[in-house]
C-alpha cells in the first residue's frame, strides 16, 4: 500500500475517527486505526465496538486532488501515536507506505517515521446495515436536536436506559427526548414519514450523539439516518457513523408532562439566565447550587441564592408577564441554565404547577422545544 495525501485532509479524518477509538478495549486490534487505500481514495476506520466511525477522503473532489500515487492495500496502525505524528509533520503532504512485512513508513519533508503495522485481516468487519427504515434530514437540524436534548441524559448507570436519548417517530414528527429523572429535554421536528411505514423508536447512547455532534460540521447538507433493531447508522457523503443502541424500554414520559399550570411567567431568557447565574455564584463547591424564585407584585420575580457560610444574594427581575397564583420554588441553578441555553429563544414561558411539581420552560410561541425541571425541596 502506498499513497501521498494532503496533510490537512488527513488530520481532519484522523481526528474524526479517533472519537471512536479507546485505549481501553477488550479487543486489542481495536486500539488501532485501519487505513485502506483504493483507486477511489483513502478510508480510515476506528471502533470501540460501541461506536464505529469510517471517514473517507476521496482521491479527488470538485476538481481538487487530495490523494495521489495510490497503490491499493490496507494496514492497521497504532492509534496511540498516529494522530500526533500526522499533526506534527513538517510539510503539506504526507507519504504513507507499507511493505509486505507490515512495516509502515510515514514521510513528510525530511521527516521519516517507521511504525509497525498490524494485519488488516484481523480487524473486525463493520456490520453492513440492511434496512429500509431510514430517513434524511439536514445536518444543521440534527445537530440542534442533539444539542437541545443530549445534555439531559443521565450520567449514572443506575438506570442505563436513561443514559440514552429516546428517538421516536410518530404522527409525522421526529422527537428526541432525554431525561436523567431530575429534568427532561425534548425537541420535535416535523418529518415526512416513508409511505405507510412506522419507524421503530430507539434509544441512542448519549455519548454516541455527543461524539457525532462534534464530528459533524454545521451544514445544510443532509444526513441519512438508518435504524435496525440494535444499531443506528448516520451517513453523509464521506462519513459513516455506526452506534449500538441501548437495550430496554424507555420510560413513558409524555404523561409526566403537566398539562395545566397555576403560575405562568413570561420573561426574557437572557435576563433570567444571567440572574440565576449570579444567584448561584455563592453556592458552595460540589453542593447542589440551589436558587429560589419568588413571585412578587407587578410582574417582578425575586431570585435568591443562599449559602449559610458564605453569604446570600438577592435580585429582582422584571418579567414581561406573571399570571396566576403566587409561588415560591427552589431549583437547581445548573438545570435552569442548561435549559434556558438549550431553548435558545429570546422570550420564554415558564409554567409552574406548584412548589413540589415539575415546571416547564418553552419558547413563548414554539411548542417544538420543551424543557422540564423538577424542583428542589429544602428541609
Amino acid at each position: 500500500m502506498k499513497f501521498i495525501i494532503q496533510r490537512d485532509q488527513l488530520i481532519e479524518s484522523v481526528q474524526n475517527v479517533m472519537k471512536a477509538i479507546s485505549s481501553r478495549t477488550t479487543i486489542p486490534i481495536l486500539t488501532g486505526m485501519k487505513i485502506e487505500a483504493s483507486e477511489e481514495g483513502i478510508k480510515l476506520t476506528g471502533s470501540d465496538s460501541d461506536i464505529s466511525i469510517e471517514s473517507f477522503i476521496p482521491q479527488e473532489e470538485d476538481g481538487i486532488v487530495y490523494v495521489e500515487h495510490i497503490e491499493p492495500g490496507s494496514i492497521v496502525l497504532q492509534a496511540k501515536y498516529f494522530p500526533d505524528i500526522v499533526r506534527k509533520l513538517p510539510q503539506k503532504t504526507v507519504e504513507i507506505e507499507s511493505d509486505n512485512n507490515r512495516n509502515v513508513t510515514i514521510r513528510s519533508g525530511n521527516a521519516e517515521f517507521h511504525l509497525n503495522g498490524q494485519d488488516p485481516e484481523e480487524y473486525p468487519q463493520l456490520p453492513q446495515l440492511h434496512t429500509e427504515d431510514s430517513f434524511e434530514l439536514p445536518i444543521d437540524l440534527l445537530k440542534n436536536l442533539i444539542r437541545q436534548t443530549v445534555f439531559a441524559v443521565s450520567t449514572s448507570e443506575t438506570r442505563p436506559i436513561l443514559t440514552g436519548v429516546h428517538v421516536k417517530m410518530e404522527d409525522g414528527e421526529l422527537e428526541f427526548i432525554a431525561t436523567d429523572s431530575h429534568r427532561l429535554a425534548s425537541r420535535k421536528i416535523p418529518l415526512e414519514q416513508p409511505e405507510g411505514k412506522a419507524l421503530p423508536s430507539v434509544v441512542i447512547p448519549g455519548k454516541s450523539l455527543t461524539e457525532l455532534n462534534k464530528i459533524l460540521d454545521d451544514s445544510e447538507d443532509t444526513i441519512e439516518v438508518s435504524v435496525t433493531e440494535n444499531q443506528v447508522l448516520f451517513r453523509t457523503k464521506h462519513l459513516y457513523f455506526l452506534s449500538r443502541l441501548l437495550d430496554g424500554n424507555y420510560p413513558e414520559t409524555s404523561r409526566l408532562i403537566p398539562e395545566q399550570s397555576k403560575t405562568i411567567v413570561k420573561i426574557d431568557a437572557k435576563e433570567l439566565l444571567q440572574s440565576v447565574d449570579r444567584a448561584s455564584l455563592l453556592a458552595k463547591e460540589n453542593r447542589n447550587n440551589v436558587v429560589r424564585l419568588i413571585t412578587k407584585e407587578n410582574n417582578h420575580l425575586e431570585i435568591t441564592g443562599n449559602s449559610p457560610e458564605v453569604g446570600n444574594v438577592v435580585e429582582e427581575v422584571l418579567a414581561s408577564d406573571v399570571d396566576g397564583e403566587d409561588l415560591k420554588i427552589s431549583f437547581s441553578a445548573k438545570y435552569m441554565m442548561d435549559a434556558l441555553k438549550a431553548v435558545d429563544y429570546d422570550q420564554v414561558k415558564v409554567e409552574f404547577t406548584g412548589a413540589m411539581r415539575p415546571f416547564l420552560i418553552r419558547p413563548v410561541d414554539d411548542d417544538q422545544i420543551l424543557q422540564l425541571i423538577l424542583p428542589v425541596r429544602t428541609y
Binding site: S156, T179, S181, H182, R183, L184, P251, T253, L256, R287, N288, V290, P308, K328, S330, S332, G354, A355, M356, R357, P358, L372, L374, P375, V376, R377, T378, Y379
Partner: protein, 417 residues
Amino acid sequence: MIVSKWYPKNGRVIFHVDMNSFYASVEMAFDPSLKGKPLAIAGNPEERKGIVVTSSYEARKYGVKTTMPLFEARRLCPDLIVMRPNFERYRTASKEMFKILADVTDTIQPVSIDEGYMDVTSCAEQGSPPEIAERIQQRVYEELDLPCSIGIAPNKFLAKMASDMKKPMGITILRKRDLSNKLWPLPIGEMYGVGEKTAEKLKKLDIETIGDLANRPVLDLKRLLGINGERLQNRANGIDDRPVDPDAVHEFKSIGTSTTLAQDTTDDAEVRTVLRRLSKKVEARMQSKEVLARNVQLMIRYHDRKTVTRSKQLSEFIQHADDLFNVAIQLFDQHWNQVPVRLLGVTATDLAEKSEVTQQLDLFNYEEYAGKEKLYKAIDDLTEKYGHNPFKKLSSPKDAQVTTSFQKDFLDDFKKE
C-alpha cells in the same frame, strides 16, 4: 495593653491543656481508695473483646498500654484493677474542667473530652502565662482532684507538643528558640500529626527525628506526602497559624460506630443484624446533631486483625437507618472475602447540616412530595410569620439521650452551656 516579654506584640500565647489518664483519674477522684493502684478502664471486662481504653500511671509502669487486649494487660500486671467506663462521670468531670478554663478566657477550643486549646494572648492582666497555667492546674487539681499537663507556646502545634513533654502535672514552655534542643531531637513518631504509616514512609527517607523533617528539602516531602508534607515540615519548624476556634466544635466530619462481635462469624444473617443495629445507632446520632450524610463507610476487621474500610459516595443525602444499612450491606456484599469477621463498623461522612441540605426531586417519585405540598407551604408560611419553624422540635427531640462511645459528642454539652 501590657507588653512584656511574655506577651509579644506580634504573636500569640496558646495553651494546650491535656488531662492525664483522664478516665482513670476520674475513677480515682470518685473512689480515692483506688489511688496509687494499677487501674485500667476497659471496654468489656467479661468478654474477650476487652481492650484497655486508658490506664493509671501505676499500671503503665508494668507496661500496660492503651488499646492493649485485656488478657495481655493482666499478664503484665496481675494486680490490675479493671473497671468498665462510666461515661456519665467523665462527661461531668469534663464539663467542670472546661468551666475552669472558661474562667480565664472565652477563646477555648475543646478537641475531645479531655483536652483543649486556649488562646490567652489577651489575658495579660491575669498574670504571666506560667502563672495562669499554674493557677489552672491548681484549680483543676484542688477542685476536681484531677491531674493535667499544660503546654505553653506561640501556636497550637507547639502547645500540643509541649503538654506532652512533662506528665503528669507538668507545665512546659516551648518557644521557637527552643525548637532545636527540645523538639528536634524527638523521634519522628512522637510528632503530633505523624501517624504510624506516615512515620514509616518518612523513615524510608532516613527521617528519624523531628529535626530531620524540619531540615529536609521541602520537595522531597511533597513528593512523598503531597501537601501534607509541606504542612508537617512547617509544624516541625514551629510554624502553625491555625486559630483557636471555639466554633470548631460544631465541625464534625463523621459519625460512626463499630462493634466487636462476640464470636468471629461468617454468618450472613448475623452480619446483617449487626449492621442494622449499627446503622440505627448512627441514625440516632445524626438525628441529634441534625445532619445528613452523603457517604457511608463500612469497616470490616477479620479474625487475623486485617482491616478493610470501603466507602460509597451517594448522589443524595440520606438520614435514615434503612438507607445507611442498605449502603453498608451493599459494601459488605461487594467486599467481604468470605473470611471470618471479628469487627464491623458503620460511619456516615460527608455530613451537612439539615438546614443547608436540599433534595432534588425526581420525575418518577415527586408525587410523594407533591402530595404534601400544602403542608410544606403551611410550615413555610408559619416560619415566615414566627421567624422560625414551629414544627422543627417535634421531629428532632434534642434532649433525647443518645448512647455513644464517640468522644467528641461531649463537646456538644460544652457548647450548650
